[in-house]
Symmetry: D2
Subunit: 477 residues, 4 copies
């Protein structure tokens, strides 16, 4: 899935968040370490970034629009974020909204105490909770799920902050990981079904929590383990401890994190992303072999699967597309009409590799297919004699309600086209997807995965307003 396919349709009530979170407790340079952690998690969100840090008494906060390095480049900022505990957040670019209000962490004061929160995921009962809270007089300044939870915490009758948080989280349904910061504690939590990844690391006396292990690596922290589904990890001066929410089934680890979203060098759900991704490619080669001269990937997310495909098939791996990484908000005059311009800006075909070749193009997933169609055209223009597309995941037929930007059914090419129709639409010589069974056979503990986007089997109740939205959009409204 190339990043410009990631189009989001969200109602104001139901934003889907794709984010990276990080927290650290016990390091004199907590904010600096959080900065580095966010830097490693930049692929999980590029719209805004923020850090909240505490010196044990007060929590300070800085947030801004843009990449991590630009949000914190003013030399005056980091010194203000002093203290030995901090949390941070990267937010995915969705709507281009310029409102800083939706950036995280959110910092509030309630009953005389400060608490900051940042989250990754998407609640399926957000609307119900918002309505319930609004009916009790709550006001909302953002569209973030974090604000909902902070309201619940503020209203909890429980005694301690740990209990209040547990009391609040058990009211949630859907996918979430949270990091909370109080002046004296760092608390992290993963939903009871375990949709989103969250791991624990350690560096000397400091404990770290992060969406992916790559954020531990950058600060030379050791990876310890995943936070368990339903686990609430409390880190303070006395060390680290856990409490657990009541278990909820089915477990539903997001398989898309392996396929596309996480960094290949990360460990998520206690398994290496790179390993799974290569196995997906190998399985794909078994299931959908191809007579061809070379295997290429749509860089960078399909690289590892393409190598797997090459290794299993014995067809030579080549770098057939070069990706331009200097992409920013690009000026393109409205009258710019060079064909395929938007993919030309991001990708360049390597003619010497492609000319006269029968090419297997490995892609990690297909959502709308628009970019892929342009890329196939580009590959053919560079002289490829045949273009065979192999996708290292099954057809995406249903939207995700748990935080991955797979939008309404109306936009999913596989939900309305048979594979041969899609093949014709994208103008490939052949097209094959990995089967669901094949995918599950290589994913660790396959029975625990959420495969809703491939199967339509949702591990939670589907939110009512989502259904309406999807129906409306699939009719072209």
């Amino acid at each position: 899935m190339s990043c410009n396919e990631a189009i989001i349709r969200e109602s104001d009530d139901c934003p889907r968040e794709f984010c990276g979170i990080f927290g650290i407790f016990g390091d004199q340079e907590a904010a600096e370490k959080t900065y580095l952690g966010l830097y490693a998690l930049q692929h999980r969100g590029q719209e805004s970034s923020g850090i909240a840090a505490t010196d044990g008494k007060e929590i300070s906060l800085h947030r801004g629009m843009g990449l991590v390095w630009s949000v914190f480049q003013d030399p005056y900022i980091m010194p203000r974020l002093s203290g030995k505990a901090a949390i941070g957040h990267n937010r995915y670019s969705t709507t281009g909204s310029s409102d800083l209000m939706n950036s995280q962490p959110i910092l509030i004061r309630s009953r005389g105490s400060q608490i900051a929160a940042a989250h990754n995921g998407n609640l399926v009962n957000a609307s119900e909770l918002r309505n319930m809270l609004e009916n009790k007089g709550a006001i909302f300044q953002t569209t973030s799920d974090s604000e909902i939870v902070l309201h619940l915490i503020a209203r909890s009758k429980k005694a301690s902050i740990d209990e209040k948080i547990e009391d609040s989280l058990i009211q949630l349904s859907g996918a979430y990981c949270f990091v909370f910061l109080t002046p004296s504690k760092l608390i992290a939590a993963r939903d009871p079904q375990g949709f989103r990844p969250l791991c624990i690391g350690r560096a000397g006396d400091a404990f770290v929590v992060a969406s992916e292990s790559c954020a531990c690596d950058i600060i030379a922290a050791d990876y310890i383990r995943s936070v368990k589904p339903g686990e609430i990890v409390v880190i303070d001066e006395r060390g680290i401890s856990s409490r657990f929410m009541p278990p909820r089934d089915p477990k539903a680890f997001c398989v898309f994190e392996y396929i596309y979203f996480s960094r290949p060098d990360s460990i998520i759900f206690d398994e290496k992303v790179d390993k799974v991704r290569r196995l997906l490619g190998k399985k794909l080669a078994e299931e959908a072999p191809c007579e061809a001269d070379i295997v290429i990937a749509i860089p960078d997310s399909a690289n590892t699967a393409a190598i797997g495909y090459s290794q299993a098939s014995g067809i030579r791996f080549e770098i057939g597309l070069i990706r331009n990484h200097y992409v920013g908000r690009t000026f393109i005059a409205p009258h710019q009409n060079a064909r395929d311009l938007d993919v030309r800006i991001k990708f360049n075909p390597v003619t010497g590799v492609l000319r006269g070749k029968r090419v297997v193009v490995v892609e990690d997933s297909i959502v709308r297919g628009t970019t892929l169609k342009q890329l196939i055209h580009l590959i053919r223009s560079a002289g490829a004699s045949e273009v065979h597309v192999r996708v290292s995941s099954p057809p995406v037929v249903s939207p995700c309600f748990y935080g991955i930007d797979i939008s309404s059914r109306g936009e999913l090419i596989a939900s309305s086209h048979r594979v041969e129709d899609t093949c014709r639409h994208i103008e490939a010589d052949s097209l094959a997807y990995l089967s669901v069974a094949g995918m599950l056979s290589v994913v660790p503990k396959g029975n625990l995965q959420c495969t809703a986007c491939f199967t339509g089997n949702y591990p939670t109740k589907v939110p009512e307003n989502f259904s309406k939205e999807i129906f409306a959009q699939s009719r072209g409204e």
Copy 2:
């Protein structure tokens, strides 16, 4: 009072706000008109600026740090603020906080409805209300009084938004003017004691509310009248109507608005600022005559009073100090030690006017006296033979709890120095203030004024935490 005397000491719980507010209903260019209104009210706040506008269905919001023109200079912004009703806000620079969260208007969603609010003033029971609300589970993301009121509105049991607002406002104590915007209404309110000014204007079919009439002038709207103490003005498609909160005494129109804060070309409290300010100068000349050659003002705020002094005394008015208006965040190396540098940057003495002259320097008010001392030194360096300071208001002896940046008693030179001591401290040849009686004799409806900063007679209960703060600060803590 020169602007660099405006030092604020605030606790997080009790910020004092000095702001300008504006609202318009019924103009196709509501946001543009609000922009111009804020531009005219820029003197009431330079830290941040914001506009909320509605197209009848949704409210959109843009806020930013800095002067009005810079916040809205991106050409993409104004077109997004479409619709025929809008409110706007300028916030005073107080703490240099870079957090956009405290900028206004605040836009919230509550019980499925949007409402935006902006205010000017300061509540004296803000802490009590916050505590009460926090104890009921409210969470606070800002330190603004607007957020308190929006919580109260959201929790009101009343049926209509008009009633909810009234129901909320009557719980407030202190100084405030509010503008609220819903998708279909503009609602403006002034506190029952009438501390802060708010006026109504009309331009064609559109109605305008603004902190000062100069914001009506800039859009060629006709001034109609002041909003009355306790009046809630409701403007919608059906026109303009009013409801009234229960009356509360004593009335307490802020006399400092006439003395210093408002623009001289404005009408506030249904009286021209310029007229009152000149009368203050004339009365001062009667009460505190002086043998001198020329009268000069500390520009620009004391200009009109100085002209009044000149007219009543017959001593020639001259422009003896030039003010530099190109002031921004100035780089001054820490080792810069030219004497009086900070006043040299803002003011230049006109040697030709001052040399060999006995000079009456008219100032509108003295808070700490630091800048005035430097200015007197500057005036003497330019050759003045005598410097006589005349102040067109009484000694400031008590802090203001209602929105003027007169800080704790420990910083008020007049609260700890007799006039002759102050005179010696600032190194003037003579010093005289206008008397409270003299001041009240020229202010319209003198019995309605708040004179707390000059007399210590507070027209409301003094907030407890303010007392502690002041006491602490006056001991040098």
Copy 3:
């Protein structure tokens, strides 16, 4: 002359520059002092600003678009400008060109040596010199006169830099002041006819040169004297010395510096601006008395003349217009059509002062009359019963070729309208200008003034291309 009358028509070859220059030698904080000097000279140029400093070996340079404080606000900049000699420059906003190339100082390397230059004024033989130099193979990267002179210096056959500069300057015709910086010297020069002001100051061991004395005041330097026409002042480790270019007549001190351009607290041409400006007002009252109730000024440049008029006439001085100083690049929607919007944004009438009054409005000069017409309308809207305009300078009938932004004859209302026609055009009840004789009677050493813009008597040959340009424009081309 209100600033939005300052419209410039320039050919690329013949830009007119209105700038402020500053130089200091012998101060460990030379760049910081230059920064402050430029700050005081900000009224002479707001488009760009720059400082060149030398540590005795290398010259470093920083320039940027915008006001002084913003160009140098990055804390990394000033420490790079180390050394004990520096020069600085403010450039006037003319064409809105965003090209930093035209900002000054210009720093070049020639025959292995660095030299930086900044200037104020306008050469009348710039085109000839450029053509001559281009024909000899010179290339031009800017449209600045400084670049011409640097070319001449580089080509001079003289031995020392002092001689090279003299050798170059004597080829120039027109108005100029220059400051040059080499790694070891500060050299300042004023043209032999003395059009533009330049003064010398001293602070301890350091010498200062500046366009106006207000730049000496801000760093607490003592004013010594004006640089003489044709004088080249050389400041280095051995102290200060002078050499003189051959004298050239007539002397031609720009009278407009007194009337409008310089700051009233400055000394220029060894006379106080404020004093001259007040005398202009007094003389105007003698020449053009008026039956009226009050005298007001168009702020701020006409303030002093208005006070003079008031003093001589006995008619009360009042502040009838308030100027908004928070002006920036303003967003105004193209469909904004409130009448007089552009003056409403800059000026607000004080109704209480004006209502029912016969008003004398003192303006320092009239160029096109457009703004004045709008202001008169505004003053009448505020209730003035009569509006009598008195101008403290004669009618501007001819363009200036020496650095004041008085443009082509086609735009000068007085060059095509009789006084009574202008009066009708601007909708005043009466209009009178100061006579040329009256003006000269109060200006020091009147016979030395350049009065070309009022008389058409140019003290130099008129540049040929200017004549054509003017002729073309007066035909509306």
Copy 4:
């Protein structure tokens, strides 16, 4: 060569430029196409960017610091660059200098005509030419070679601009490609020895010149051929024509363009970069085989060579290092001391690929070896049992005077260490370089290559000041 090895030591007189240039004639959207071309050439320079365009009469110019997209993101800029011919330039980040003066294109006026120029390369007789020109009175405002050539053109006695340019270029010695723009012509030139690449493309009626063919691809222009050594290509309304400078030997096509600098999807010197780069890897595998489990590349520049090594050796290719592409000006607190932090920020090892493996690490070149040493440490930390470094180019023993950022001999690890010492220094288990003969065997027309950095055989006279500089630096001065 990872990009943070690219440290430059330059004297002011002798900057080495690594840039991308582009020109187009005959397209109504010339500036937009140039923008896209620069975008594709971004890897050749990230410090500044600029475009000059002509409408047939005037040349307009916009330049700025930063990446292409940011320099041109203001929507007002492109419309000002109208016309159907344009040239553009990307400048490499070398010294971090903030002076826009050194950005290109440079636009000058000479003998009444405008001409703009942009270049890529480095002259070896720049100092001599500058001295000669300065002695004739030329002044220099930049340190760019373009300014030298523009001076020469301006002084040429030839009649036409084509002849003037030829007359000037034949005085140059060293490496250069130029694009010139006059109001009516686009002229491009490549030095007679052919150091730097420059190609011609065609899109409809428009002709294109660009440093690499990838800039043709992005605008869907067809690649035609390389500009020949010594060829001057003139494009105007009459079409395209060529003139030739006198031939100069030896030919000296920069072999480093193949090894590292160009994009793999480009054609340079009429050969595909990707193809050469893969052959280098294959040859390396022949010359320096290795017992190992996997082959990985230092991404991204060594990817293709690593694939070649894998293909020739039969050892499996894997992606063992992930590169973070969200790199900007990074805040790193001075007390940040996580080991290897600077490589951790750019690269993450894929533990699952590396653990327990004997790894061949393919790098394209080694300059100082500092980053490589850190990367080897990182790869070992990820569990690699052996790390064998194979370099797809010979040891770099001599500095480059022709535009590649290979600095003084003192910094080149291979100039002072034997291979085994270098191996020990970078803590590799083995280290082998490709031989010069091996390299030349796979490079097209091997006898024409410049191999000076590998052999010390310079195809031109070595500039004297370079020699001194190098000598000084190698002594640690």
